[in-house]
């Protein structure tokens, strides 16, 4: 690990990127799942019933956190590029991670 890799800006860029790749993989599957509604509510219900397992719930938590995280880190990029913000990177990374986990926890509390 090079010295630059230990900087918070590197962590932000890496997590932003990894969460983005995860979302790009997930989205077509999500769209396919919702598309089952074309065959009626019962088809969508059978899909929802089949995926009502702890493992899928855990994966959903990960996707929700990935979406919130990608959005938070994305807002950071937009702020730096367009608002000429002189950011404190470590604080921005901490706030982004905290926001993503808070959204994930809200999801877990509601889904349980």
């Amino acid at each position: 690990m090079r010295a630059g890799h230990r900087q918070p800006g590197f962590v932000a860029a890496l997590l932003h990127r990894l969460s983005g790749v995860a979302l790009a993989i997930f989205l077509p599957l999500h769209f396919l799942a919702l598309g089952t509604a074309l065959r009626g509510a019962s088809a969508l219900d059978s899909f929802l019933a089949a995926t009502n397992t702890p493992a899928v719930k855990a994966a959903e938590f990960a996707v929700v956190v990935a979406l919130a995280m990608h959005m938070a880190f994305g807002l950071r990029v937009l702020a730096i590029e367009f608002l000429a913000v002189r950011e404190r990177t470590l604080a921005a990374v901490s706030v982004s991670l905290a926001a993503a986990l808070a959204v994930g926890l809200l999801f877990l509390l509601n889904v349980a």
């Binding site: 990127r17 983005g20 790749v21 979302l23 790009a24 989205l27 077509p28 999500h30 769209f31 396919l32 799942a33 919702l34 598309g35 089952t36 509604a37 074309l38 509510a41 019962s42 088809a43 969508l44 219900d45 929802l48 009502n52 929700v64 979406l67 919130a68 959005m71 994305g74 807002l75 990029v77 937009l78 590029e81 367009f82 959204v103 809200l106 999801f107 509601n110 889904v111």
Partner: protein, 108 residues
């Protein structure tokens, strides 16, 4: 990344910041007490606001995700050039088609 791709990436990011925030809030509200098709469709059935929101989200995603993936692939692998751009154009069309299909599926 070329100027046009950069602007498309950032403009779609702004649209997604708004639509994804609404979607996250909807998810957290919607999963209370478990998800059922009846509940989802009651919200979205013949609701033009939801259709417009999700169609906008899908269009922005179909622009944003392939450009983002292109940056990642070009930086992390040796794949570049026309074959990469063609593959990502196919991915963009796939996202657009599947996404609009899903939006219409929960609207009808």
């Amino acid at each position: 990344m070329s100027g046009a791709l950069f602007i498309a990436q950032r403009a779609s990011a702004v649209v997604l910041a708004v639509t994804a925030a609404v979607h996250l809030a909807t998810i957290i509200y919607a999963v209370r007490g478990g998800l059922t098709a009846g509940e989802i469709l009651a919200r979205t059935h013949h609701n033009v606001w939801f259709l417009a929101l999700y169609a906008l989200f899908v269009v922005a995603v179909a622009i944003h995700a392939p450009i983002g993936l292109r940056n990642v692939v070009r930086e992390w692998t040796i794949w570049r050039g026309r074959s990469l751009d063609a593959a990502l154009a196919v991915f963009a069309v796939l996202l657009l088609a599947l996404g609009l299909r899903a939006s219409v599926a929960v609207f009808l």
